[in-house]
Every structure is written in structure tokens, then in C-alpha cells.
Symmetry: C5
Amino acid sequence: MLLSPVKIIETAAFDLDKPTLIEGLPGLGLVGTIAATYLVDKLKMEPLGYMVSEKFPPIAAIHNNIPLHPARMYKSKKYNMIVLLSEFIIPLNSVYPLSEAILDWAISKKVGKIVSLGGIVIRGEQDEVFGIASTPALVKELNANGIKTIKEGATTGVNGVLLAECASRNFPAVSLLAEAKPDYMDPKGAALVIEALKRIVGLDIDTTDLVKESVELEKKMTDVLTKARESGKHYKATGEEYGSMYG
Amino acid sequence: MLLSPVKIIETAAFDLDKPTLIEGLPGLGLVGTIAATYLVDKLKMEPLGYMVSEKFPPIAAIHNNIPLHPARMYKSKKYNMIVLLSEFIIPLNSVYPLSEAILDWAISKKVGKIVSLGGIVIRGEQDEVFGIASTPALVKELNANGIKTIKEGATTGVNGVLLAECASRNFPAVSLLAEAKPDYMDPKGAALVIEALKRIVGLDIDTTDLVKESVELEKKMTDVLTKARESGKHYKATGEEYGSMYG
Amino acid sequence: MLLSPVKIIETAAFDLDKPTLIEGLPGLGLVGTIAATYLVDKLKMEPLGYMVSEKFPPIAAIHNNIPLHPARMYKSKKYNMIVLLSEFIIPLNSVYPLSEAILDWAISKKVGKIVSLGGIVIRGEQDEVFGIASTPALVKELNANGIKTIKEGATTGVNGVLLAECASRNFPAVSLLAEAKPDYMDPKGAALVIEALKRIVGLDIDTTDLVKESVELEKKMTDVLTKARESGKHYKATGEEYGSMYG
Amino acid sequence: MLLSPVKIIETAAFDLDKPTLIEGLPGLGLVGTIAATYLVDKLKMEPLGYMVSEKFPPIAAIHNNIPLHPARMYKSKKYNMIVLLSEFIIPLNSVYPLSEAILDWAISKKVGKIVSLGGIVIRGEQDEVFGIASTPALVKELNANGIKTIKEGATTGVNGVLLAECASRNFPAVSLLAEAKPDYMDPKGAALVIEALKRIVGLDIDTTDLVKESVELEKKMTDVLTKARESGKHYKATGEEYGSMYG
Amino acid sequence: MLLSPVKIIETAAFDLDKPTLIEGLPGLGLVGTIAATYLVDKLKMEPLGYMVSEKFPPIAAIHNNIPLHPARMYKSKKYNMIVLLSEFIIPLNSVYPLSEAILDWAISKKVGKIVSLGGIVIRGEQDEVFGIASTPALVKELNANGIKTIKEGATTGVNGVLLAECASRNFPAVSLLAEAKPDYMDPKGAALVIEALKRIVGLDIDTTDLVKESVELEKKMTDVLTKARESGKHYKATGEEYGSMYG
């Protein structure tokens, strides 16, 4: 595909067999990141590695006393599953490189399927999850599981690029988009999307407490997201090539 | 010519013999894209490949449930023809690389002739298609088919660069420009340009229903075009290096 | 000198012996481009090649039904002369690369002398052409032919870079600058500069009709110049990374 | 990790054995730079080398009559310690390269531990220093020394990138952040952070005079910081590619 | 040090033995350029070479009928001296490359000492020249010659980078900064700095006429400086990628 200035670095043994790669990047209502974080917590997933690039905001997330790269991966041997999440918005100039890095890595690791989680503008009641799939067989599978697929439209960002590329290569990829409120965080959307995920991937996870627990989650995520954004805004706002005094 | 950061990737066998390459890129009244899409639909053309570049908007078009690269190619063995179309405006910094990629690819594939479809500001009644050709012989051919050629002027974008380059190399290339309204979409212009195309390329296609059917077509194309534009605008408008919360 | 991302491509045999290279680039009153175009027309010069770069505006000029690269060269075996002209303003980031490409090419082709034509702000009546030369011998030659040389000052753009470089290498180069009005086009300045050129290069050309004929010429050049400028402005004005709908 | 356009150049012999690397970069209240400078002065540390990059402001600090690179390192054989400091804000595009250069260099030199000093917004009285550590063992060590660690949050800049990278590689790194006033300079914060440093690194240094002496220190640092900022602002403000007359 | 996209090209034989390199770049009151130009004229120095870069303004200075690169060098065998001067403000992105090019060249040519001339804001009467030196021995030498050295402060631009680098490498370098008015040109500052220069370098030159003669000098320099600035401003102001009509 293209040149890749994004690197994926593994920090633990890869002991999975054709695993499913769940991708949760920030988007509408932060559905992807919330859902991914919830999966990592509840399924007690272990660190697997991280993504790094000069174009990413220079920031460490601190969770449970440990500094972490804000774009990283976890694994679960039990569920034969990987979760890839980011706590910052992927910058425009990193969308192609990250998409390529993920797909190249997934293929090299013999990932069986990519499922990305995200949000979509509410089209009525907030009770539905829409799907997009890279192959006609997967479209049928989604429909068979009661997930409406998007027939005509467009989807942007890492998910969009991955889907188009996977469709071209006949690689199985699915995007699940829960109706979400364009608020800061929409845990209800995250719960919806996890429930849809459960219909296509066998998972033992309860989402009834997600909304309640999300108060805690929101606290954890807010600081990283805000500082990631501000680290860019700050330098720009000062309008000075060499930053301001209180960088 | 130049360095090419645009890649053309084939996803199906190339079983054509000196085919005509029809190019339909967005422009005035979206004539090129509408006409190209209509040709693909009505002539039941098959996917041939796609173009990809880091400079293209990171987006997947979804048509008939399948995610697609928004710049792609179709083939018709019956008509010995290729249609190359884009559902997004070619960014300025991709005009040269895409032009070069198309021409290099066309030559390597022994394409017989390039015909690009587009729109031009209406110069009276909307009833005419103007032509530009890369060789005197093609100018005569256009005129013989009742298509007025532009004697003095200028033409920009991928079509312009391709025409100048083809003229320099004596490669047969034609640009057909239908009078079009600078509205969002002008299906009448698309119908005009297809009728002109029929006069120089033997095609069994009826355009009487194009304007009527274009309501459906417009629905399909609008979402991709809008999201392609917004994916760029969004990142800029936020004025933040690392995007806003709802990317 | 420097790296050259500008390419000069020859499309005809180079059958000249130490020819004079006349350079006519847009500048004050468009004197250079008008004069060069007039020379090409009246001396019935033949196409020799063109210059191309990703930094040039993506545009084809259409003259006499044929699409042309807007920066190109013509030759005259009779006058042992080359005319290099551009129908668009050389972008700032292309000034060095183009200057280098021209000089390297000129040296490799054993060009005997470079003469660039341009305009200068009127310093009284519009009746004078000022000269700059790269060697003391050429300064004398200009003075001997009644052309006042600029003793102290500065000159910018491709002409300036070429003159300084030629002076450093002792390569014969002359710049002729006719007093010109800073209007859109000043054919009188072009006539003045051609008359001065005739004094240092033997040419059989009558400029009495230039001003009269320039109405026609202006029509030919305006469309290219305007569209070249607008192709850049357009993309910028939209303020969108991926262009607007009517690109 | 990544490409490194920042170079670390040693100008003295490296005669230390698994030393501690203390890092003091400008940030809130300039705590890091003040504390680092104070350590260098009071511990009579010797020059060890400097960091240089085209992205750094082009400036020399002049201290005690000698021009110095504004980002540089000192060593103390007695304390087996290195101090790395910068007198200018690290530009955003240098955060990753500098972080990588520091960590690569530290590993190649067998540095035992990295301790970065900085400021944090006051959360009550200005009497506390918060810690972040790259390993659970170091978190315990900080807590055992009465330094509260940040359990959830985020930290940006060189410190953040270093901490996340060190945590991934299991390299011992600590960040000490003193509550500081977002004023031009907060020597009290610097004193606080040095006192915390003393609790984890054996140091014979008295900070009781730091606030008093900081008047002198401020004078020394102000000129460099101001000129570093202005060197960037100046060129931008003029809005001219080639600077203004009084550069 | 770093990559160097600035080239130094020699156009005459280098027949000097460990010469002193005098550097006069534009700055406060244009002291450096005026003083350097005056030295070249009065000491009848000969051309030695020039500096060129794509980042420099594309311009030729014309002096005494000859086009010249605006950044260039002269030599004097009699005084075993080189003068390096620029008639345009060094663009920010060229400060590091030019500094590196000068120092690398100076070392390769076995230059004995670098002395840069410049201006500094007046701190009382305009009667003093301040010095900065790269080594303690040179500080003493300056003081012994009655030149006060700057003990604490900062200095920016090519001089600053050169001084810090020379201090790191123990290469002898001196900066002489005359009190100057931030006006367009301050010949009095230039006279002051030449008088200081005479105290550390044996020179037979009279500055009593400098202020009087500077009217002539100002005329010579103004055109180049103005056009250099405008060549950048022009392209920017138009706000068009492809320049305006009267480039």
C-alpha cells in the first residue's frame, strides 16, 4: 500500500492463533475507545504492544500508576483476541500510515478478522448498531445476526481506509457503528456496540454496568484526551516557532 | 515525467486489447463522475483496480453494501473499455502524481486512447460539448463528428496535464467538455457528454433516463463527496494539530 | 549549483550550433512572455521541448487547437536561436530549480549566449531599454549598441539568479529590460525590448504591428495566465484540504 | 523508536558508572530549568556535552563570558550524576527526536536511572511534589520516600514520551513534578523539587537560599529564554519569507 | 554538526595562510553588512566566492555593472583576510545550514580566527563596542584591548550558533557588536565596529569618512535589501500559489 512512518512494537509474546483484532479509536461519542477500554478491563486482557509515530501527540497516559503509550494493544489468550485502542484522535496525516501499519501487522500475524468499533449519528432512537463489512459473506453474517448493514454511504478515517483496503484484498473486516450522541462521551453507545460485537464474536461480558461505571472511565480518559489535544493547540496558539514560556 | 506517489493497483485480470480509457473525475457540475458512474452501471462493467495515495482523503465509499476505494477503475471486455473515476476532488498536490500514474499505467497497458469527460461553463444554451484533442488527426475526427474543438484557451487539472503530456508524446487523448451548470450536480451535462462520447466510441447506451435516474445517483454520490471534503475541513477547522474530540 | 526538480524535455532534434537562448518569462507588463511569443510567431519557430515540475500550475495552454505545456521552448535553425517562454508566473519555490535547469541544459547544449527579456518600471518616457550583462565585455557591447546598463541595483527571479550564476562562471548572459507599464499587458514594452534585442542579435523582424496585433495576442494569453493563477487560488480559497465541489 | 535529527555531542570524557541522569527542561514555572541550573552551580558540575538540531532556536546562551549551546549536559563524578538542561522551550517537532536521542544515548552510556524535574499546577498549598515512575518498583520507592504518585492522568512533552517509552522497555525513570505557579519563574517550586530529588538520590545541597539567589538566576535565564522565543516570533511576525531589515 | 543545504563555492584561488575570516551579515542598523562592504572597498579586496542555497532570496545584486550573488566572499592577500558578507537577511531556516557551512569551510581552509561584526541596542551613548569570545584567552585579549565582553546574555542568528559551536570546539571566534540605532542603516555603528576590529586585527583603514560616504553606500545597498525582502513578501501577499500577474 504505502510507506509507513507508524511503528507497531510488541512488548509481549504473541501466543494467539488467527485471533480477532478489535479496534477502538476515538470517534463520535468516543464509542470506540470506551468500548475497547471496557473490553480490556472486564476481560482482564494483558499488554501486547504499542504504536508510535512522530506525528502522534507527545504524551503518556498514566493508568493505575503506570505511564503508557496512548495508542496500544492488549491480548486475551482465552478469547483469542486483540484489542487495539487509542486515547487520542488520530491526526489526519497519520490515518493512512496507521491503517497500513495495522493491516500489514495483522496480515503478518495471521489475524483472522478485524472488527472496528465506532459511533454514528443517531437516526431515530438510540437503539441500533449499523455494520459495514469487507465481503458479501460478512454482510450476510451481519444481517443474519440482526445487524443492519449500510448499503450506500461513506465512512472516513482509519476504519474507512481499512475497510476499502480489506475489501480490495478480500480480507475479512467488519465495522460496527453504534448510534451515539455527539457529546463528549457516550457510554450507552459503547454498551450498544459491545452487545453487537457479542453477536458476532463469542464474548462473556456484561454491559449492564457500563453506563454506571463510565463515570469512573470518563475521569480516566478525559485527562489524556484533553492533554493530547492541548499539546497541539498550545504550540499553535502561541504562534511562536519556539513555543511559549510555559510549555 | 515526475515522481509518482500515487499507486494504481489492479485487482482483476487485464484482458483487454488496446482499450479506450474513459476518465471521469469530479469537476464542473460533477459531469465527469456522473457520466463515468452511469457508464459503469449501464454497461455492467467489472471492477479492475483502484488508485491510492497518502494525499487522497482517507475515506471508503460504500456502494451496494461493499466498501470501495473512492478512486477506482472498471473494465468492459465487450466494449474493450476502461472507466477510471474518482468520487472526490483530486487535491492540488496530487494532480501531477495522478496524471503521471494514469499515463504511465495507460502506456504500460497499451491503452489505445484516453477520453476524459468533464464540464465547461455554459456559453449560451446548454446544448453543446466542446472537445480538445492531443493530435491534429483527433481534432479533425472530433470536428468530423460535429464536436467543436477549443482553438485557444487553457484547461486545468488532471485533464490539462494529461492533454499537454499526450500532445508532447503524440499519444491519442481527447477531452470532452459538456456545457454544465455550476450546481452541485448537473446530470444533463453528463447526458450531453455521454452522447458526444457515443459519437467517437461505439457504445450501446441510452441517456434518456439519466436525468430522471440521477436523483438516485445523486443520493449515492453525495455522501462520499461530502465526507471526503469534510474529512479535510474538519481537521483544519478545529485548528488543532491533534484533531478535535469528534473526529 | 543545486538540486533540480525541474525537468527539461526535448521533443525535437537539437540541430543548432552554439545558439542564442532567448528567455521570456512573465514579469512587469508581461513584456518577456509577449516578446517571446511574438518572436516564435513571426520567426515561424518550431517546437523544441518543454519544462515540467510538480511545482508548476497543473494546466495546459491550448493554442491553435493543440494542448501545450505552458513552459516550453522553440527553435529556429535559420536564426540559430532558441526561445524559452512561460505562460505562467514562476512560483517562488521553482525559481532556483528552473534557473539551474536552464543553465545546466544551456551548458550541456553549448548555448552561446543567454538573453532574457523583461520589463522595468518606467523612469520617464517609455522609450528606453536597460541592460544587465554577466561580463564586462558584454557590458561594453550593450553600451556600444546604445543600451544603457544598470550600474547599481538588484534584479530578482529567474533572470537574477541566472545573471549572478553566469557572472560567477563567466558565461555570457544579458538581460534586456524595457520600460513598461505595470498593467496587465504592455505590448509597447515588448516592442521596445525586441528592438533592443535586434541591436545585439541579428533578427529580421518588424515590431511596428506588435501593438496592433497584441489585441489578438492578449486574448490568447489571458486565458492561460488567469487559469494558472486561479488553479492555485481556487484550492487555497476553499480552505479545504480536499478541494471544493467544483474543482 | 524513531528517526533522530537531534544530535548529542560529548565534549568531555565520560568517566561515570551507571550514573543518574537528571533532566531539567523548561515547563510550568520553569521549575525544571531552574532546578537543573541550581544543581549545576551548587554541585560545581563540569560540562559534558550538548544537544543540537536544526529545529532548535539558533541562539547562544552567554554565561560567565562563555557562549554555550542552550541545550547541554553537565557531569559530576562525585555524585555519579549527569544534569541535562535546556534554556529554551523544546519545539513540538523536536519532542520525539529529543526524547529518542536522550534515551538512546542514556542506554548506550549505561545510565542507571533517569529523573526528570518539572512543575505541575498547584492543587492546594504549594507544598507537594508528585511523582510518576516507569516501573511498579519505582512507584513503591517514591511512595516509601513520601512522594505521592499520580495514579490516573497524563503527562506531555519530552518527559511524557520518555516515561511511556521507559515503562515499555522496563527502564527506570522517574518524573518529579513540584506544585508551581504558572508565573514566569517559580524558584519555590524548584526548591521543592530539589528537596524531593534529595529523598531519592543522595545529594549534599542546600535549597534554603534558592529563592533568594533566584533573583540572580532569573537575570541569567531571562535573556536566553526571551531571545529564543523572539528569534522565532520575529521571523513570523514580519510575515516575510526573507526576514525584515533588523533581523 | 548538521546537514548543509548551503553551498560555498570558490571562484578564485585560495592563497592565504590561516587567514582571519571577517563576517558581516545584516542585523541591527545593518552594521555588519555596512562594515564588511566598507572593508572590501577600502582594502581593495578581491572576489573569492559565494554562498548559495534554495532558501536564499532569488536575487542578483548589481554593483559596478556586474551581477553578483548577494551572499559572497572577498579576500585580501595583503591582510591575510577574508570578508564574508550578505546583502539579505539570512532566513531562519538557513541559519543553521549557513553556520555549519561557514564553520566547516573555515576549518577545511585552516582559517585562523572568525570575527563577526554586528550591532547591539544602544545602552547609553553610542560609543561602545561589546565583545563575545569563544575562549577565555580571547575574552582576555578583548578586555586587554579595551573591549568590554558580555558576561551574561544571549546572542542569536548565525553569529550565535557559530560562537556556541566554536566555544564547544575551542575554535577561536569573536563577535564585535557596536551600539547601533535600529534605523535602516547606522554607518556610525559600522565605523565603531571597524575601529574595534582594528584593535584586534592589524588593519590600515580610516573610518573618518565612513559616515559621509555612507550616503553612497546606502544607495547601493538599499535596492538589494529591499528587493530581497519584497521577493518573499510579494509571493506571500498575493496569497496565490502561483504568484500574481506582475511577478
